[in-house]
């Protein structure tokens, strides 16, 4: 760099060039790059800091020929792509930042999913696991099984534990939810962890009694809302065709008892949703939500059998997602605050030193390390998708059974450890060289289900294609659209 002499500086002091590097000893630190569009490339360093460069600047960076008087030279220094004789503290900082990104690993499993029943009042064609049945014995979790699951919960060293009740329709076995919450709270008097409870429910069956229990124990509610009435009811059939009405009414009732922020909603995108991103987002706004998670349809369980009626290509998804995200940007620019949750998770990885605990965007995988599922029958799975896959007969990600196996048997099993160490993106083909690796993650269940092996083939992977599209879209918006960039930056911090 060129230092300007300061004629007015007292002669008792050294001029700036005394402190700048006068020789060309810059060394390149580890980085990866990928084409963004046209002449532009994205380079990322070990800790996920990024910089967008024209091709010529990438060539210089790779060859180590960036001149100190190139204005990009100092950007390379401060973002830790280069190091020169003026400072070597970049190595310490990179190490700290790398540790920070991986810090959640040390806490171990935080999310514990209790599948309290498989029974459900809905018959959604995209659902992977539910049964419309009145046979309580066959599809409900027993208190004995729940006790074992609670033992496992407290074996996790994580100071922050989240207990999520899933189904089927979890409210059909509310007695067990009540039992688990009370037992966990009892145990926690001595365990002293931060325990959070969430019930995933379609809300159709919620009663005042249940709400009072949720209020007393500060239980969060997570429900499903797929979009406007016609779309929601088409996606989520139940006797009476009133899923939408019951959900909306349920949301209002939950809010009036538990408070506005205690209820969140998730949407699933089907083929019928693809031309309605605006209407879906408007529905969320109209219901008073300030965020929406645009979710891709998982190709598991029943969903893959009905893929013809519900499924769509990755390209169709990408078009839907971009249209939705651009609509959300437009709303924000008009003063309406709403954010998209998947983008927020990715932006947090791009723009902050921190990681997220979102299971599908981690390496090593979040399977077992971030999440574990206790199925109604005592079987233990590495994730929600793992048990959905099992309902189609593929038990590849079943880790054991609460009755038969110890905590050590499960978490030190070859089956789990093999998944973890063979699918780390730091060393899987293509991922290891990808500039977006710090923002991405590994999804062994998806690749096993769609491509027949846990590592998979990236160029034809829907997971890779979707995420790659999103990373490029977000970085283009951050670079080219100042107004959108300001909104996206505010999400990362939230």
């Amino acid at each position: 760099m060129i230092s300007v002499a300061l004629p007015q500086l007292s002669r008792r002091f050294e001029q700036p060039d005394h402190y700048g590097p006068r020789d060309q000893t810059a060394r390149t630190l580890p980085f990866r790059f990928i084409r963004l569009d046209g002449d532009r490339y994205v380079a990322t360093n070990l800790a996920g800091e990024h910089i967008v460069l024209p091709r010529g600047a990438i060539v210089d960076l790779v060859n180590g020929t960036t001149r100190p008087d190139d204005p990009r030279y100092v950007d390379f220094l401060r973002k830790h792509f280069l190091i020169d004789t003026s400072s070597d503290v970049a190595l310490d900082l990179l190490a700290v930042k790398y540790r920070t990104k991986q810090a959640l690993l040390a806490q171990f499993t935080g999310l514990h999913i209790f599948v309290v029943t498989l029974r459900c009042d809905h018959a959604c064609p995209y659902c992977q696991v539910s049964r419309v049945s009145s046979d309580k014995l066959a599809y409900d979790m027993t208190t004995q099984t729940a006790d074992k699951a609670i033992d496992f919960l407290f074996r996790s060293p994580n100071p922050n534990l989240k207990v999520e009740f899933q189904g089927g329709e979890s409210l059909l076995n509310f007695e067990l939810i009540r039992y688990v919450v009370e037992r966990v709270k009892e145990r926690n008097v001595t365990e002293a962890r931060n325990v959070e409870f969430v019930i995933a429910t379609n809300l159709a069956l919620i009663t005042d009694d249940m709400l009072q229990f949720c209020l007393a124990h500060q239980i969060w509610i997570s429900t499903s809302l797929d979009g406007p009435r016609a779309l929601h009811n088409a996606n989520r059939p139940r006797p009476g065709h009133d899923s939408y009405e019951r959900t909306i009414e349920g949301i209002q009732r939950c809010r009036s008892v538990l408070g506005h922020g205690a209820v969140s909603a998730l949407m699933t995108t089907t083929k019928k949703s693809l031309d309605k991103p605006e209407a879906i987002i408007d529905e969320y706004l109209a219901r008073g939500f300030n965020s929406i998670f645009l979710r891709w349809l998982s190709p598991f369980g029943f969903a893959s059998k009905t893929a013809g009626a519900l499924g769509y290509s990755t390209d169709a998804w990408n078009r839907f997602y971009e249209r939705g995200l651009r609509y959300i940007m437009k709303l924000n620019k008009g003063g309406c605050r709403i954010r998209e949750e998947y983008a927020r998770l990715v932006l947090r990885k791009i723009l902050t030193p921190y990681a997220t605990s979102y299971v599908d965007l981690q390496s090593p995988t979040g399977l077992g390390l971030s999440v574990v599922v206790y199925n109604y029958d005592g079987d233990i799975y590495a994730s929600d998708e793992s048990r959905m896959l099992a309902e189609t007969g593929d038990r590849s990600f079943r880790l054991g059974n609460l009755e038969k196996d110890s905590y050590e048997d499960v978490f030190l099993s070859d089956r789990l450890l093999t998944v973890i160490d063979t699918t780390m993106t730091e060393c899987t083909p293509c991922c290891a060289d990808c500039a977006f690796e710090p923002y991405c993650g590994t999804d062994p269940v998806f690749h096993h289900a769609t491509q027949g092996d846990m590592i998979g083939h990236r160029p034809s992977s829907g997971f890779c294609n979707r995420n790659m599209f999103l990373f490029k879209l977000l970085i283009q918006m951050l670079e080219d659209e100042p107004e959108s960039a300001a909104i996206l930056r505010s999400w990362a911090a939230a």
């Binding site: 700036p16 400072s87 930042k97 030193p353």
Partner: protein, 407 residues
């Protein structure tokens, strides 16, 4: 500006300087009288209680010092007439001087621990001197037990306090023992904490409310090193911050804004948010027109009005990253209105002043005003804010909002 130093007259000479707390309690327990000086209501010594280290009065002109007594009597100059019970002074009868070490009613007490420094910042307001001043700490170790345990905060400043090494740790331990409720804020360049054992030693004191305020002037090593005039200082300071973070000692980053630092404020904010997000606070500070600033004014001076864009970006980036950020030493009339909520009245009471033009300003009571040294150079844009230009952007910090004194 309040004076903290003055010439005295003494009835006799003592050997070592005396560190005493002033009192007007003539019934004070005799066991502690030797640590106190009795404030006489007048110069009449005849009824003065006995057993105190000294009796003290404020000069009323040319009255001769009362004699005829073995006990020490000291006459303070009139400008120190504000001193009262609970204040602590150092009386040097040989040099005939008094230094105020502590004022019980001030929120801005600082322990000045050394004049030595291992940096030589181009804008230093307190240029370092390479002298043996270890007596300063010895005096303070005597003074600390005399301070009010209700003191809310104490500063520790220099020079570079960490050059004292173990002595600094002793001083902080003494504060922990005698002033357990008092927050300690140490101004340090942090370089010596690049030695991890020293950071561990500091952490091991277990002071419940200790923070190190550490300057960082650029995201680029060579620019920071130039400002502090020490090669390798950036790396040491960064390692020091990391080590303090690692050992659980709270830190604050302090940035003095001048012509050599303003242009990279946005990049510095990004660097801090990405690399040092564990710091408790970031203070962005205006230039104090003291010390080296006089000789380097041409290199350092920029009208604050001209760096509002960089300052706004910097504040916004830090705020968005969830970091706590404040602006010190800036007058409200030169700050962007959007920055008012971050502006603090930060100048110590003893060097704080306002200009004549400020008299008609409707936000004067919320404004940090000027260092007493500011007359050397101040912004061309100082102007009173008329009441109709005051928006409630002050609301987040202003205690007056909603009350009758609300502007």
């Amino acid at each position: 500006m309040i004076k903290l130093y003055g010439r005295i007259r003494a009835s006799r000479s003592t050997g070592e300087p005396l560190i005493v707390r002033l009192t007007s309690d003539g019934e004070l327990d005799s066991t502690v009288r030797q640590q106190h000086a009795y404030l006489l209501p007048n110069v009449d010594l005849s009824n003065a209680p006995r057993g105190f280290a000294a009796t003290v009065s404020v000069s009323d002109g040319d009255t001769p010092l009362p004699g005829g007594s073995d006990s020490l009597h000291v006459e303070l100059p009139q400008e120190l007439g504000y001193l009262g019970p609970g204040d602590i002074v150092r009386l040097n009868t040989q040099a005939r001087e008094v230094r105020v070490l502590y004022r019980v009613n001030s929120p801005h007490n600082s322990l000045f621990v050394t004049e030595r420094c291992n940096s030589n910042c181009i804008m230093c307001s307190q240029p370092p001197k390479d002298v043996d001043d270890s007596f300063l700490v010895q005096d303070l170790l005597h003074a600390i037990p005399l301070m009010s345990p209700e003191t809310r905060e104490l500063g520790i400043t220099g020079g570079e306090p960490t050059l004292l090494g173990e002595k600094l740790c002793q001083l902080i331990s003494a504060c922990r023992e005698h002033l357990p409720e008092t927050g300690l804020h140490v101004l340090s360049n942090g370089r010596l904490f690049a030695y991890l054992p020293f950071a561990h030693r500091m952490a091991s004191i277990g002071h419940p409310d200790l923070m190190f305020g550490i300057p960082l002037y650029s995201d680029l090593a060579h620019q920071h090193d130039f400002v502090v005039q020490a090669k390798g200082a950036f790396d040491q300071t960064i390692r020091g911050l990391l080590n303090l973070g690692r050992t659980g000692v709270k830190t604050e980053i302090r940035v003095v804004i001048h012509d050599q630092t303003y242009s990279r404020l946005p990049q510095l904010a990004e660097f801090i948010a990405r690399n040092l997000p564990f710091v408790s606070h970031i203070a962005l500070m205006g230039l104090e027109m003291m010390g080296y600033v006089k000789m380097n004014l041409g290199t350092l001076w920029i009208d604050p009005v001209k760096y509002q864009r960089e300052l706004s970006q910097c504040v916004h980036t830090l705020d968005e990253a969830g970091l706590s950020v404040s602006i010190y030493n800036h007058q409200l009339c030169v700050l962007d209105r959007s920055l008012w909520p971050y502006a603090r009245q930060s100048i110590s009471d003893w060097k704080n002043e306002y200009l004549d033009v400020c008299q008609d300003c409707s936000v004067r009571d919320h404004c940090g005003g000027f260092f007493a040294s500011a007359k050397l150079r101040y912004s061309d844009y100082i102007q009173p804010i008329p009441p109709d230009q005051v928006t409630c952007s002050l609301a987040p910090t202003c205690k007056a909002v909603g009350s009758s004194s609300c502007p």
